[in-house]
């Protein structure tokens, strides 16, 4: 039973609807059938009553004069009538005398004259008892439980003096086909109603279930972490369900935003932690490194003529220099004081990159909206620009264009670089600003890390977006006080 309730609404709604329709139709059909039975019965009662009264009246004189033939003719007449199907044809008619013996019967071969009806069969015996017990003036239908026939017993009497009884016998077998015809009619109407209503109900159920199912599926997706609301227009009506869809959409959207925010926070914290760690390590390495390089320089000076030692020292020196370069690259220091960033710095950067751009056959298009210097350290902003544009040049396909815009808005210096080329992979995007993460084989993967460190230390924000074959980096740096 529970499994029935566990069914999808897709089936449950039409099933319940069908159940209700079938129940209602059954009830109506049953009512029709009962009605047809009642109609038949009242037909029977009225026809037997009128027939009984008419026959009893004419029978009286025949019986009192002992006119057997006349009585016979009277009770046989209704049986020879071609009955229209409104009236139920009696099976047999009997005229009984006061002792419940047959005065005459319409079927003398089976029920001859003077037969005591109590000896005919049990039904007649019970009928005889009833006639003796209650000689009523009307002609009610007498129907024994389990009897094969209906009976109508009308007294043959005048002014209350009873001469005998007229018994009209109806076979239930004759009655049944008519009842069956009525019942079939009722059932037919029921089937017709079902044939019309069930498909409508099924269609309506499907229609009603569809948005619920869409909502349930979407909820499941959300629970699994796919924050996608059902597409707008899934349920375009403004009823309760429509409002539910609207609210759900809003809810999913805010969940999505919250998730994005959380991811961003985690990323920032991770980057900050990495920044702190790497800065610490860099400092720790830098201090002995400086000493080692000074010691190497001294050693070189003292052993200038030792060629073999000089080669070894040179190897050491190159290695240590590479370590220093790497470490210093990681050691971003925003506290460097210097002059403010000016429009010509942008021109410098473009010139610095011209060679690289030429090599890659990429054009750099710089749009500068600056007219005067801004209160930001020029060295650091130049480094940001260099890193971003260098990446852009490398990522661009040949003969593409890298666009760089720089402008001031809402107290921020806004830098935006855009390049064509392969999009950044989604998993890479999450770790884009971490050190030693690189989109290509060249480079040590410190460019964006350094950029991020600089931007963060300057209190700004950096965001990357890669979509539709375009990769875009946006940097916003709050303007500080002028150092000029």
């Amino acid at each position: 039973m529970k499994s029935l309730f566990n069914l999808s609404f897709r089936y449950k709604i039409p099933l319940w609807g069908s159940l209700l329709i079938i129940t209602a139709t059954l009830a109506v059909s049953t009512a029709l059938i009962v009605q047809s039975y009642d109609d038949l019965r009242s037909d029977l009662v009225s026809s037997s009553a009128s027939l009984g009264r008419t026959l009893a009246k004419t029978l009286f004189s025949a019986m009192i004069q002992e006119e057997v033939w006349q009585a016979f003719a009277i009770i046989r007449a209704p049986l020879h009538e071609q009955s229209d199907d409104k009236l139920v044809q009696p099976e047999m008619i009997l005229a009984l005398d006061q002792q419940q013996r047959v005065f005459v019967s319409s079927h003398p071969k089976s029920v001859p004259m003077l037969t005591d009806i109590r000896k005919l069969d049990d039904e007649f015996a019970r009928l005889a008892e009833l006639i003796v017990a209650k000689p009523g003036p009307d002609a009610p239908i007498i129907d024994f439980a389990g009897a094969r026939r209906f009976y109508a017993a009308v007294p043959v009497a005048e002014e209350g003096a009873r001469l005998g009884t007229l018994v009209i016998v109806y076979s239930k077998e004759v009655f049944l086909p008519r009842f069956r015809a009525g019942a079939w009619r009722g059932a037919g109407i029921g089937l017709l109603v079902l044939a019309v209503l069930l498909p409508i109900n099924w269609y309506w159920g499907q229609r009603t279930a569809a948005p619920l199912i869409a909502l349930a599926r979407s909820t499941g997706d959300v629970a699994r972490g796919e924050l996608l609301a059902p597409p707008p227009g899934t349920y375009p009506y403004d009823d309760e369900l429509g409002r539910l869809f609207d609210s759900y959409g809003v809810m999913v959207k805010s969940l999505h935003e919250k998730t994005l925010l959380e991811e961003e926070m985690i990323r920032s914290e991770r980057l900050a932690a990495i920044g702190r760690l790497s800065a610490g390590i860099a400092h720790e390495i830098n201090n002995p490194l400086g000493g080692m390089l000074v010691a190497l320089a001294n050693f070189k000076r003292r052993h200038e003529d030792d060629e073999r030692a000089g080669k070894t020292v040179a190897i050491l020196e190159r290695g240590l220099t590479q370590i220093r370069d790497t470490v210093s690259a990681m050691l971003v220091d925003a506290k460097i004081k210097g002059r403010d960033f000016a429009p010509h710095d942008l021109e410098d950067v473009r010139l610095l990159l011209a060679g690289e751009a030429h090599q890659e056959a990429v054009e750099i298009d710089v749009e500068c909206a600056l007219t005067e210097s801004v209160a930001l350290p020029a060295t650091l902003v130049r480094q940001i620009l260099l890193n971003l544009l260098l990446n852009a040049v490398h990522a661009s396909p040949a003969s593409a264009k890298v666009i760089c815009t720089v402008h001031v808005a809402e107290g921020q210096l806004r830098i935006q670089t855009t390049n064509a080329g392969n999009a950044i992979a989604a998993d890479l995007m999450n770790h884009l600003f971490e050190p030693f993460v690189s989109g290509n084989e060249e480079g040590h993967g410190l460019g964006l890390w350094v950029t991020y460190q600089i931007v963060t230390q300057l209190g700004g924000q950096i965001a990357a977006e890669s979509r539709d074959g375009l990769t875009q980096f946006r940097v916003a740096l709050p303007l500080g006080e002028s150092h000029a």
């Binding site: 006119e67 057997v68 033939w69 079927h107 003398p108 071969k109 003077l114």
Partner: protein, 282 residues
């Protein structure tokens, strides 16, 4: 005086003419009884119109189920002629005179048939019907009442107690129907009616079986009221006797299942008379 004479002559002439006119307009009243299937309307209506044409007078048929009623109507001069049974003819001989005797199968006789339902295969005579239900035709019928009772009496039985129940069906045809439907276990009917119905209603005669046939009795006669004028009597008699001589008459006789009529003789009914005396119903 002269005037009164003229007036008297005029009055006499007037009376004569009206009497003549009366005679022309007065219908001939004929009583029909169930001695033959008298309840068939169409052939009898043809017969009546035939009579009107032959007699040049209106003819009225009066049908009564019971012989005694027809006899009463004759006595009360409500009828001029009647086709009755041989028993009332003999019984009420003083009130009627024999007009014509029908001829059936070439003879002016008929019989009483004892019949039982065709489902009854065992009955061989009326003596097998003791304590059964028996249908008589009419207490003034010979073939339908007197004959079977005579038979019982000859066998030493008391007809009044012999059967369990008896009833009068008031016509030969209904006796046949009673027996055919099983209402009665046995009955007695005229051989002429049986023959006629076995042609016209074979389904009825098939449902019954003739057990025994009685002796011949003079055929149920056409009679005239004793007081009917000679002219009317002769005209009517002539009409009946001459029926076989024209096409229409022959067709009517065929429908009545008769060959024709003869003048007849009271001697034809001597056996009936003996029967009445024997049964003691006279």
């Amino acid at each position: 005086m002269k005037l009164t004479r003229i007036l008297a002559v005029l009055a006499a002439l007037l009376a004569l003419s009206t009497a003549e006119a009366d005679d022309r307009a007065t219908p001939v009243r004929i009583g029909l009884t169930p001695t033959f299937p008298h309840d068939q309307y169409r052939p009898l209506e043809k017969w009546r119109l035939y009579m009107e044409r032959k007699l040049h007078r209106p003819v009225e048929f009066t049908r009564r189920d019971r012989y005694i009623e027809t006899m009463d109507l004759l006595r009360l001069k409500k009828l001029d002629f009647a086709w009755i049974c041989d028993y009332p003819y003999v019984h009420f001989r003083k009130q009627v005179k024999l007009l014509a005797v029908p001829v059936h199968n070439g003879r002016p006789y008929y019989q009483s048939y004892l019949i039982v339902p065709s489902s009854d295969k065992t009955t061989k005579s009326i003596l097998d019907l003791k304590d059964k239900v028996f249908a008589y035709t009419d207490p003034y019928s010979n073939t339908g009442y007197l004959a079977p009772r005579f038979e019982l009496q000859q066998a030493g039985e008391d007809p009044a107690r012999y059967f369990h129940k008896t009833f009068f069906a008031w016509s030969h045809r209904r006796v046949l129907e009673s027996v055919a439907t099983g209402l009665a276990d046995g009955g007695a009917i005229s051989s002429h009616v049986w023959d006629t119905l076995s042609n016209g209603k074979p389904e009825l005669t098939r449902a019954a079986r003739v057990v025994t046939k009685s002796a011949d009795y003079g055929f149920a006669p056409f009679v005239a009221r004793v007081s009917v004028g000679d002219e009317d009597f002769r005209a009517m008699q002539k009409l009946l006797l001459e029926m076989p001589s024209d096409e229409e008459g022959r067709a009517l006789l065929k429908e009545l299942n008769l060959d024709g009529f003869i003048v007849g003789d009271t001697r034809l009914y001597e056996r009936t008379e003996r029967l009445i005396r024997a049964v003691g119903e006279k």
